[in-house]
């Protein structure tokens, strides 16, 4: 078993999907409900299969911060949401193979949007670093 981070990106600098998906508040209410239900179901399925570790949503508000030298205030970026790579949330799964992690990400990316069509958002799959070997020979 290995852990993977499945990161939901909302990338504004390149197309989210083949077709333009409007923000969620522009969808029909039953489309929003279907999307939320899909996400609940996905988490429940991962819990049932014993692959679920964690899933969290993130607020879209974010600030980049950087140390700027002794005695100077840290540098932060402005509220330029349109140029930021927004991360909407993540799953952490503990799965048998990289293929399985890809499969879950692809399934997550198939969450329904307007008209019940998959929204096809990008989900980045990153393996966790494992612990160092306990015996090095």
């Amino acid at each position: 078993m290995a852990k993977y981070l499945l990161l939901k990106h909302y990338r504004s600098d390149h197309a989210i999907a083949a077709e333009d998906i409007p923000p969620m508040d522009q969808w029909q209410p039953d489309e929003v409900e279907a999307h939320i239900a899909f996400m609940h179901r996905l988490n429940a399925e991962l819990e049932a299969s014993g692959e679920f570790v964690d899933a969290q949503g993130l607020s879209p508000e974010g600030t980049f911060v950087r140390y700027d030298g002794d005695g100077r205030p840290p540098v932060t970026d402005g509220p330029f949401a349109e140029t930021k790579d927004l991360i909407a949330g993540w799953w952490i799964v503990d799965v048998e193979s990289r293929e399985r992690a890809h499969e879950i990400a692809a399934y997550g990316s198939s969450a329904p949007g307007p008209g019940g069509r998959p929204i096809r958002e990008w989900i980045e799959v990153r393996p966790f670093m494992g612990p160092p070997p306990s015996v090095s020979e």
Binding site: Q26, Q28, H40
Partner: protein
């Protein structure tokens, strides 16, 4: 002493015990205890058949554990049947301990954790779980809090204000799971109410009971938020409402009004209405005016704006809202609600969307997004 031998034998002993039909976790504990005995006795007298020795000792440990478990249960049952201790004896201790844990030098988060640990008697693991942080993190936070208040003197009557604020915070955390912080806050406030003579303590207890009574109707089975006006009022917990109203009336009769009694009065007016439409909004507004007089805060004024909207119409509500900082939490949600009532669907939808983007939990964000989507259709 051969460690390797023990390591090899342990799983075999466990295997024997489990095969005999013992519970796995209990068997593991018994094997651990037997290994401790082995470490203690074998250097003096090595048994001829170490495996048989371990199985015998582990078996005995298992029986011991079951016996003490049974007698513990008997003790607890007996203890449970005994009448609760009278309030007089713990009067000073409860308040003293709570005051120490709610010391103003602590951040609210640390005060809450320390209170739950020291007064609530929760384990560090339970508190960590309630706050969704790793146990070592919570252990650190609690020991840092203990260091902060060590030697602090904090035991005068005025300190009850800080205690009430922390108890209210515990209540509002409201995580559910193995530890229900809302229940825990009610339990602690009850304890404090029995130990003190302050109508504000009763006011806070009433407020918690009146809010908590609505919980069965506040979420759908899948966890979605149900707004107050849409809740199935038959599912409210009416015994808690009755208890809260009684407590509140007794507190109000003592004529020492405070902010918690006022908030409880508002909650009682909501709980008393048979339907949302029958809510006595003029009285709610009067209590909000009282609240702003007693304890002025942007949050109190924000809630007051909702009541103004109900009594004098959405325009008046929006005017009250405009006097407040739009950066306030929930400002957008209130604006959305008032604009919708004023028939301005587009504005309302935009505010709901903005409120959703700022929501700090998923259920609330989903709820607000759905409201925006509802208003955005048929355009």
């Amino acid at each position: 002493m051969n460690d390797q031998l023990l390591r090899d034998l342990a799983p075999q002993v466990l295997g024997v015990l489990v095969r005999r039909g013992n519970d796995f976790a209990a068997a593991e504990d018994a094997v651990q205890d037997a290994l401790v005995e082995a470490v203690r006795h074998w250097p003096d007298a090595m048994p001829s058949d170490p495996l048989a020795w371990l199985v015998t000792v582990a078996g005995r440990k298992l029986v011991d554990a079951q016996r003490s478990e049974a007698s513990r249960r008997r003790r607890e049952r007996r203890d449970h049947q005994e009448p609760p201790p009278g309030p007089t004896e713990q009067v000073d201790d409860t308040l003293l301990l709570l005051s120490r844990c709610c010391h103003p030098a602590l951040t609210p988060g640390s005060a809450v954790a320390l209170t739950l640990r020291a007064v609530g008697g929760l384990t560090t693991a339970q508190i960590a779980q309630a706050f969704l942080v790793p146990e070592p993190t919570m252990a650190q936070r609690i020991s840092r809090a203990k260091r902060t208040v060590s030697g602090a003197r904090f035991d005068t009557a005025g300190d009850v204000t800080a205690v009430l604020r922390v108890l209210y915070l515990v209540f509002n955390e409201g995580f559910t799971g193995s530890v229900d912080l809302a229940e825990e806050a009610i339990r602690l406030t009850r304890q404090l109410a029995a130990a003190t003579d302050d109508p504000e303590v009763d006011g806070l207890l009433a407020l918690m009971l009146l809010h908590h009574a609505r919980r069965p109707a506040r979420r759908t089975p899948s966890g979605a938020v149900v707004a107050l006006a849409d809740q199935d009022r038959s599912r409210w917990h009416h015994a808690s409402i009755a208890e809260g109203v009684d407590l509140l009336q007794a507190a109000l009769a003592r004529d020492r009004l405070g902010e918690y009694q006022v908030q409880a009065a508002i909650a009682a007016l909501h709980d008393d209405a048979p339907t949302a439409a029958e809510t006595d909004w003029p009285q709610v507004l009067e209590w909000y005016d009282e609240l702003v007089r007693l304890a002025d805060s942007p949050v109190a004024r924000l809630n007051r704006a909702v009541a103004v909207g109900e009594v004098d119409g959405p325009r008046a509500g929006l005017a009250a809202l405009r006097e407040l900082d739009p950066g306030l939490p929930r400002w957008d949600a209130v604006a959305a609600h008032l604009h919708e009532r004023a028939g301005e669907r587009d504005l309302a939808a935009a505010h709901y969307a903005a409120a959703a983007a700022r929501a700090d939990n998923q259920a609330e964000r989903d709820h607000l997004t759905l409201q925006a989507a509802r208003l955005n259709q048929r355009r």
